[in-house]
């Protein structure tokens, strides 16, 4: 059976901490909206637990963003880069 937490590379990337902080939500509040234990939100934020599709959708709905804004298989660009397009300017 495949290990849940790989040793080197993360299985997925998440913006959950940023989005949660942006909305001023505590882990407990988000956990209640998503119907999970607050500890599970912590594990998700650290990439130590891969959520089921249903849970990922519930979290995205609770944060009122599309699923791919919260979870991705490839690393997210930094918020600063996306907002100010600094990555393009630096090139």
């Amino acid at each position: 059976m495949k290990k849940q937490v790989p040793d080197e590379q993360p299985q997925f990337y998440t913006r959950l901490p940023v989005l949660r902080a942006e909305r001023g939500m505590s882990r407990k509040e988000l956990a209640e909206l998503a119907g999970v234990h607050y500890q599970t939100i912590g594990y998700l934020e650290r990439g130590e637990y891969s959520p089921s599709l249903v849970l990922a959708l519930r979290i995205a709905a609770a944060l009122a963003v599309p699923l791919d804004a919260v979870f991705s298989l490839t690393p997210f660009a930094s918020m600063a880069d996306q907002l100010y397009n600094t990555e393009g300017e630096n090139r």
């Binding site: 849940q4 119907g35 999970v36 234990h37 500890q39 599970t40 594990y43 130590e48 637990y49 959520p51 089921s52 849970l55």
Partner: protein, 161 residues
């Protein structure tokens, strides 16, 4: 009208009590596990020496050990938030996954404990070892207590809960 919480929901809430957070560190879990093993060893010693003790001392000792077991096992279950004993209905998907892992690991440990128990029982009955009656009591009693606490030990010592 809101439905009153079920027994499992009340139990889950009790085992998830935030005031027990100090028990949820690896060190506290190891100490509680060592404490519970200590209680089982003391129980074996007490049963083994029962014939030498006055009945009041034996009963008093057993009462103390039972109370100590309730506290250490209760503390250990609070330290794991009870994921190993609660019904999947009151666990979230991550906790339910941990519960599954706990039971698959416990199954292996339990098999070993069971084999050791059977071997010891057979040895105790063999003509070469005239095992006293106390040994015949200690082996199944301690094995049974160990077997019912294996999932809690596995959760406390091996899982991130």
């Amino acid at each position: 009208m809101t439905a009153s919480p079920t027994y499992q929901q009340r139990r889950a809430a009790r085992l998830d009590d935030p005031s027990m957070e100090y028990l949820r560190t690896p060190k506290a879990r190891r100490l509680l596990a060592a404490g519970l093993i200590g209680v089982l060893v003391a129980e074996a010693v007490l049963i083994g020496t029962a014939a030498l003790l006055p009945i009041a001392v034996f009963i008093g000792g057993m009462m103390v050990l039972i109370i100590a077991m309730v506290f250490t096992l209760g503390g250990l279950k609070a330290s794991t938030r009870g994921v190993e004993e609660l019904s999947p209905d009151v666990l979230d998907e991550r906790q339910a996954q941990i519960r599954g892992l706990v039971y698959s690991m416990s199954y292996k440990v339990l098999s070993v404990v069971f084999v050791i128990t059977v071997v010891l029982m057979l040895l105790a009955q063999s003509p070469g070892w005239a095992a006293p009656f106390e040994v015949m009591v200690i082996i199944p009693v301690i094995s049974w207590q160990l077997i019912i606490t294996i999932p809690t030990f596995v959760t406390a010592l091996r899982m991130k809960v």
